[in-house]
Point group: C2
Chain length 361, copies 2
């Protein structure tokens, strides 16, 4: 069997406004000053999955941008979604494409916009997951050993060693008991105290044939919508049949549609400096800081400023007497945001959408 990566890059990333826009979402940003998040996602697979076995699934409007950012990937590895329908349809399509290429394929499904610091450990964890995925019917996910009662992540409960302790030297898979949505703080604290909850990383490992079988059983509406695609994969008819499949499929996540229903669900706990980089505050936390705790990009001048994230460009950005603030300056818009309020940026973008500011989103 061969291992393939399927990188999900369909997000529109409203939380990084004004840098992220509908035309230029989060996964294509270089928020840490060097490569973009999707470039890093491919690069950190080096040694595990070569570029020719990396696939990206993205909305068709981002295909050209994806090809440009990932020139090492064969063009046919960029799969275009005609419409966004959450993760289940996207995964069904990718699994069918892979099966046509390699009936024995194992898929490593990864979000395009996460950060991982300890790549060696990440590979070890993925290898354990890939092993486990060879068991009949096995669906495997990666769970992150939680470091604090985060309310921004989903959780999963598992039968294994205390989630709060350092994970095994040798990563291994454990049965998943249940999935939980993003909790409130009290619930998150209970999860942490119990020692049997991990953060749901949104990374999945399974054989292409297994996920399609499980989808047929647990999510037949999506499976049937995509069944006609299987007949025309890689033919001239694929594009039009695919559009119909997406239109006919329910809009549902793979977590909710399959993982929560299936019997053979496993998790490999991992601890490798993971973040889903959910907002500007996370970018600040993950950025290199100067001696005043400032993380700066662009043409920036600070005077009595500390613990700030500033992303500028050509224009001069000057901060005077400013602390714990995020300033993001772009051609047509500037954001000044308290670091602790970074989560609220998405509300602003929703407001912009709704109130005649569509040019800015």
């Amino acid at each position: 069997m061969s291992t393939y990566a399927v990188i999900m890059a369909g997000g529109i990333g409203t939380r990084f406004w004004p840098e992220s826009r509908q035309a230029h979402p989060k996964q294509f940003l270089n928020v840490f000053g060097d490569s973009t998040l999707i470039q890093n996602t491919v690069a950190r697979l080096q040694g595990l999955v070569p570029p020719e076995r990396c696939l990206v699934v993205t909305h068709e409007r981002y295909v050209e941008k994806t090809k440009k950012q990932l020139p090492a990937l064969p063009a046919e590895n960029i799969l275009a979604e005609p419409i966004s329908r959450n993760t289940a349809p996207c995964i069904a399509y990718a699994a069918m494409k892979l099966q046509a290429r390699d009936p024995d394929a194992t898929m490593v499904v990864l979000p395009a916009d996460h950060v991982i610091e300890d790549v060696a450990r990440f590979h070890e964890v993925l290898e354990a997951a890939i092993d486990q995925a060879q068991a009949p019917g096995a669906l495997v996910t990666i769970g992150i050993n939680p470091t604090h009662p985060a309310t921004g992540y989903g959780y999963l409960q598992f039968d294994g060693p205390d989630a709060a302790t350092a994970p095994d030297a040798e990563p291994q898979a454990y049965p998943v008991r249940t999935f939980a949505e993003k909790p409130d703080l009290a619930t998150a604290e209970r999860f942490l105290d119990s020692g049997d909850f991990l953060w749901n990383s949104g990374m999945f490992i399974w054989r292409a044939d297994t996920i399609l079988d499980q989808m047929e059983t647990h999510l037949p509406a999506a499976y049937e919508a995509f069944a006609p695609v299987r007949e025309v994969v890689d033919s001239d008819a694929e594009s039009s049949v695919l559009t119909e499949a997406f239109q006919n499929s329910p809009r549902i996540s793979i977590d909710y549609g399959v993982m929560e229903q299936a019997d053979e669900v496993y998790v490999v706990p991992g601890s490798f400096g993971w973040s889903d980089v959910g907002d500007w505050r996370a970018v600040y936390d993950l950025s290199e800081k100067d001696e005043h705790g400032n993380a700066i990009q662009g043409n920036v001048l600070m005077h009595d400023a500390s613990r700030c994230l500033v992303h500028g460009d050509d224009r001069l950005v000057v901060l005077v007497g400013v602390h714990d603030m995020v300033v993001v300056d772009t051609d047509d818009a500037v954001l000044v945001c308290n670091r602790e309020s970074a989560q609220q940026v998405k509300n602003v973008v929703e407001y912009l959408h709704a109130h005649q500011f569509a040019d800015y989103v």
Copy 2:
């Protein structure tokens, strides 16, 4: 006798960066959203001094801008300083021009960039000062009844009623005892407690012949530098003789050069909602605020923001979770400044001057 206004508009206003620039200083800004400060300075003289008797002295680089902003003033009323040499040379020049026009002229010398709320009261105070200025050798200034121990203003000590109490119903002139530089806070508090200190407003009222006499006595170096100008006023030779006069004159303020030396110095205390609008914080204090205490110009969106001053333009400015902040957005630069740190903006501009950022000042 006739009363003339001489509006001093030579300042370069570094404290309103990035709106104020060398090419576009404070007096030409509409920081309160309607007219510019210099337009307001002329407009509030209506009923006391008509436009044809308003003169403006400004650096020659601002002459065109001044004419454009003050179209009601005759072109010959805009006097150009070839170089900036503080207030004494500027006043010597204006006094000679006025004397040539009207040997009996009384001058009301006003900074171009102050704010006055109670114009009727301001007129009453000026009228008392104009009366007093008819006394032989009298130099008159306006002192502001202090409302707090400000450290940003000079003070003057006078022989009159308690400075802290409401000023007389009928404004009148009192002898000035001494002038004091901008004090530290402890000194300012002592000044206020004493009850005999007023803020030095920088407004002067005197006859043109009196100030020239007093300058001849107390500031002969400046007087002699300008003596040749007297001979050529309004002739073709004026411009070149004037340049030489400015070059030969010491760089000195009228306060230091004359007012502090002269014998017949008077002050009319006034209380008319005065501010010299010294920085962005003062603009905030003087601006109309919405129910969240925000003062906004331009294309601005606030989400959980309060007590902020935002001056934008076409670009969208978004504030999220931000309080007590000043944000000023211009084509090539954006300032984010704590309201309490507004005084430090001038240090930033000095830094920009000194460090290869000259394009931005």
